[in-house]
């Protein structure tokens, strides 16, 4: 699959031909310097952006051929997103931020359940402004997984956090991956995080430059950076 951004006179080749599979229940870490194309890949996987060439299949659905309605439906039913800057809705409480997603999903878990899964059962009625960065990110994770997504996409989820808080967040991701079995793709430029993956995909310059398979997944608690 390729992605070319047409910027008037210059064309930027963000993805120069990526061939990749993501399996159910797998934890994949996408590792690479900025500009390597990992965010572009994630956005295309999540149905936020379209590939310029090639095909992206989610089960039998050809995402590359889907229209806006189908993409919205795809995101709504199957994809959970976690962003670097949380992107919570400031006017909704923790519980309501999760409920904002469960209300439109097919077979969601209860919002309380999702919050307990990320260890925030006691902060349900707090507004984002009353929570720390790590807590906000865990709400974002709860929001992403409450719909029981089959794909969980995390874009630098620890990028805005210190290492201690980051580890708590990664634990939450690790836990939901194990318990819900969602295919998880996590972007980072922090090589230390790679240890928690089943598979580490190295990207550079729009290519997959190397793929490592970890024999054992490390517990995020044992990671350091």
């Amino acid at each position: 699959m390729t992605k070319v951004y047409d910027m008037g006179e210059v064309s930027v080749h963000a993805l120069r031909g990526v061939d990749l599979e993501l399996f159910g229940g797998e934890m994949m870490v996408l590792l690479g310097p900025s500009g390597s194309g990992k965010s572009t890949l994630l956005n295309i996987l999540g149905g936020l952006d379209r590939a310029s060439g090639g095909t992206v299949l989610y089960r039998d659905l050809d995402i590359t051929a889907a229209g806006d309605k189908q993409l919205t439906q795809y995101r709504r039913s199957h994809v959970g997103f976690v962003f670097q800057f949380y992107n919570l809705i400031p006017s909704l409480t923790a519980l309501e931020n999760v409920a904002a997603v469960t209300e439109i999903a097919d077979k969601p878990m209860r919002p309380e359940e999702a919050l307990e899964l990320v260890g925030l059962g006691d902060r349900m009625h707090h507004f984002p402004s009353q929570l720390s960065g790590g807590q906000q990110q865990r709400i974002a994770i709860a929001r992403a997984i409450a719909k029981r997504p089959s794909v969980l996409l995390c874009d630098e989820p620890t990028g805005a956090l210190d290492s201690e808080t980051g580890i708590v967040v990664l634990e939450a991701i690790d836990r939901v991956n194990r318990e819900l079995g969602a295919a998880t793709a996590l972007i980072t430029h922090n090589a230390d995080i790679a240890g928690m993956a089943d598979r580490v995909v190295h990207m550079s310059n729009g290519h997959v430059s190397a793929v490592e398979i970890n024999k054992t997944r490390r517990n995020p608690r044992d990671l350091h950076w």
């Binding site: 439906q73 809705i89 400031p90 006017s91 909704l92 507004f127």
Partner: protein, 786 residues
């Protein structure tokens, strides 16, 4: 170009929709000001010039008849500089091809040019020396009938018919407003002023060696009241009809009233419009500063000073101000030209130099700058003064709480998007209230536009369909006995006649006086009735005098007080009479008595000076011809013509202004609503994009944004309607003149129009925003920090 200036233009270009909307609102305010102020200024300057150039007198008095020798005594009054006597004759005219009655007055022209009220000859020439059958005619009448010099017409002067040749068309400051006695608006088709040689008129009117009007100029230091008193004393034996100064001269008085209204227009409307513009600028600049918090911090980190950044944002405001002021001055000039032309149709100025003077342009610029800066300066300085380190931090998530609506209302069962709508509104109550205030203001301004139309219709309905419902009104040359009525009733087509006795008087209470007519009408009249505020007929009390409420206010008199009446019919008798009631009338200023009571008051028998006739509509035209032949009949009028002339003149002015006003108010409404929507969108786009990423459809996201807007708009509309009604009340009381009182009437269609206009503006804005929501960049939002 400096980098900061490039940024300025990029920012302006990005916000062009809002820039245009705010500029238009500002332009609307400036345009109203320029339109009204320049028209007022041009009219007043022209008036002053005309008065000086054509020598408009300062003292006036009519009288029955005085020998020429009396004039010397008038000239001797201290303070009087120059005097001139005149002969004024009432006449009725006949014009071939115009069936309806034409009444008029004929003014004498001295052998040499008149000292006062000199004539400007617009076509042809003045009557030649010694030519008894030549006359000059007023421009209004000539224009209405498209008369050219050389035209022949017939006039009945003092009961005798006379053929006259029109030699010229003239105008004079004395008749800028040309009003037939007893009417409220000019009717150029059926009222005319003629000028004839004095000798000829003296002969025709039994005034040889005598005069029946005197005019004079006064010393700069002379008091008009003193001169009036002395002139009254001199003329009393000659049937003086009461002297008066300029302020009571009909044409001058009506002009002054009109100027009062223009003054109000040039202050109130611009004030409202400009405050809306200031409010909008504040919102938009405030929002812009919030989005540029990071940029400001970086620029300061580079070493830009607080002052240079403040200037940068002030410049941005000034660009909007400059566009708004320029458009406003150009638009105001255009509208002012139109408004002046309209005034020229009604007010017969010989010429009018319409001009927007430098003072008005400078004032407009000042208003624009003040509106622009008060709206933004505070926000600009606060943002520019923020420390770079603080400003570069991402703004913390905004604090929210559970809305009251949810806690106590049905909100507990609302969906998340709906909750977001209510929390957003409640979280920033000031901003929400300001948005509501802005939209409510636009709604209320829209109501003002329609209100004038409603008021005019109501005035016409009250006066000409409820109070005065005769088909023809007849005026006699003087009091006639009631028997004369029988000859009217016997005319074919007349089904009913109702007599009226009218007498001019000076009404006095304490030190306040007012010249008005006392109308003696039938107690249980059907053609002429007095109405209460519900427009139901009121029974006249058997004794005493009834005043219109406006007259009572001017005199400071209340029901039960005893008032002094000085009769101005030549008898000059002074009597006391109790005020036994008040009625409301929208048009004119009149005092009423029962006719029998007035007859007794005047110590006369059963007499009348006019009559109201009910007639078969088909026979009205024929009736004119018959009425013209009755020698005692001085004039006739019809309700249809009265209606027509009302709509053509007063109403035309008010409605034209109302149209301009609606145009400007709609501009404001669109500007306010569009801005409210755009600001909401730019504040929320990140949040909305996040929701789209989470799987919300465009429809759902649009609902969150526009739902908030809808709540605000629907809260604002009823407030705006109430506010508009209140504003109409303020307008009405400011617009209250002797000419008419504007009733505070706002009809349902006006409310509906205002509400609908806001809804349409909202829908249009929603459409434009809907397009933007479709193109929300979902990828961008994830990268960028708040």
């Amino acid at each position: 170009m400096r980098a900061l200036d490039i940024k300025l233009f990029r920012d302006l270009w990005r916000m062009r929709g809002q820039v245009i909307a705010i500029s238009l609102v500002l332009a609307a305010g400036i345009a109203t000001y320029v339109m009204a102020a320049s028209t007022l200024d041009s009219l007043q300057r022209t008036q002053t010039m005309l008065y000086a150039e054509y020598r408009f007198p300062e003292l006036f008095s009519g009288l029955k008849r005085a020998p020429a020798s009396v004039l010397a005594r008038v000239a001797a009054i201290p303070g009087v500089v120059e005097v001139e006597s005149r002969v004024i004759a009432q006449a009725s005219m006949y014009l071939d091809g115009f069936d309806q009655p034409v009444s008029g007055q004929i003014v004498s022209l001295p052998k040499l040019a008149p000292q006062f009220n000199q004539l400007r000859v617009r076509a042809g020439r003045l009557p030649g020396a010694g030519r008894d059958n030549e006359a000059a005619v007023s421009d209004g009448f000539a224009g209405a009938h498209k008369l050219q010099p050389g035209f022949a017409m017939e006039a009945t002067i003092n009961g005798r018919k006379r053929k006259l040749t029109v030699t010229g068309i003239v105008s004079t400051p004395e008749f800028i407003y040309q009003l037939a006695p007893g009417s409220i608006v000019p009717d150029f088709k059926s009222y005319c002023v003629l000028w004839m040689n004095r000798d000829a008129l003296e002969g025709a009117y039994n005034m040889t060696g005598a005069f029946n009007e005197v005019v004079a100029s006064l010393d700069r230091d002379a008091r008009v009241e003193d001169a009036v008193q002395q002139l009254d004393a001199i003329l009393k034996p000659y049937g003086g009809l009461g002297a008066y100064g300029r302020k009571d001269q009909v044409s001058h008085r009506y002009l002054s009233e009109e100027f009062k209204q223009l003054t109000m227009m040039s202050t109130m409307f611009p004030a409202i419009f400009l405050s809306v513009a200031a409010f909008l600028l504040n919102v938009v600049i405030g929002r812009l500063l919030a989005t540029q918090r990071g940029q400001i911090a970086i620029l300061k980190a580079f070493g830009y000073t607080t002052a240079s950044l403040a200037i940068h944002f002030v410049k941005l405001t000034m660009v909007i101000v400059v566009i708004g002021v320029a458009l406003g001055i150009a638009g105001g000039r255009w509208l002012g030209g139109g408004l002046s032309a309209l005034y020229m149709d009604v007010y017969k100025f010989p010429y009018l130099h319409y001009e927007v003077r430098a003072e008005i342009v400078l004032a407009s610029i000042a208003f624009g700058v003040i509106a622009g800066t008060t709206g933004t300066l505070f926000a600009v300085f606060r943002a520019a003064a923020e420390s770079p380190a603080v400003a570069m931090q991402p703004a913390p998530p905004a604090s929210y709480r559970v809305s009251l609506f949810e806690r106590f209302g049905p909100g507990r069962w609302l969906s998340q998007p709906t909750r977001m709508i209510f929390r957003n509104i409640e979280r920033r109550p000031v901003k929400s209230l300001l948005s509501i205030a802005g939209v409510a203001m636009s709604t209320s301004i829209l109501i003002l536009g329609g209100f004038w139309g409603d008021a005019v219709d109501y005035m016409v309905f009250a006066q000409l369909r409820r109070a005065q419902i005769e088909d023809i009104s007849v005026t006699f040359f003087g009091p006639v006995s009631r028997r004369a009525l029988y000859s009217l009733t016997s005319l074919p087509g007349v089904s009913y006649a109702e007599p009226v006795r009218s007498v001019p008087a000076r009404l006095r209470y304490e030190h306040r006086t007012y010249r008005a007519a006392i109308q003696g009408i039938e107690p249980s009249g059907v053609l002429r009735r007095l109405l209460d505020t519900n427009l139901d007929p009121v029974e006249l009390p058997a004794e005493g005098i009834v005043l219109t409420d406006h007259l009572a206010t001017m005199l400071g008199v209340r029901s039960g007080d005893v008032m002094t009446v000085e009769l101005l019919d030549g008898s000059r008798e002074i009597r006391e009479i109790p005020v036994t009631g008040l009625v409301s009338e929208f048009i004119g200023v009149t005092a009423y008595m029962r006719r029998d009571s007035l007859n007794r008051f005047l110590r006369e028998g059963d007499s009348a000076t006019g009559a109201y006739l009910a007639a078969d509509p088909a026979s009205v035209d024929h009736l004119y011809t018959l009425l013209k032949k009755i020698p005692a009949v001085a004039g006739t009028g019809t309700r249809a013509r009265a209606l027509a002339s009302f709509y053509e003149t007063l109403a035309a002015q008010m409605l034209t202004f109302a149209f301009f006003n609606t145009l400007l108010a709609s501009t404001i409404a669109i500007g306010v609503v569009y801005n409210t929507v755009r600001v909401a969108l730019s504040e929320r786009s990140r949040e909305l994009a996040s929701l789209r990423v989470l799987g919300y459809t465009r429809g759902e996201v649009t609902y969150i944004l526009l739902g908030e807007l809808a709540v605000l708009i629907f809260a604002a509309i009823p407030i705006g309607l109430v506010f508009g009604r209140a504003l109409a009340g303020i307008m009405a009381s400011t617009a209250q003149t002797e000419l008419f009182r504007v009733p505070i009437i706002v009809e349902p269609p006006t409310y509906a129009f205002a509400a609908l206009a806001i809804v349409v503006a909202t829908l249009l804005s929603a459409l434009s925003v809907g397009r933007k929501i479709r193109h929300l960049d979902l990828v961008e939002v994830l990268k960028a920090r708040e």
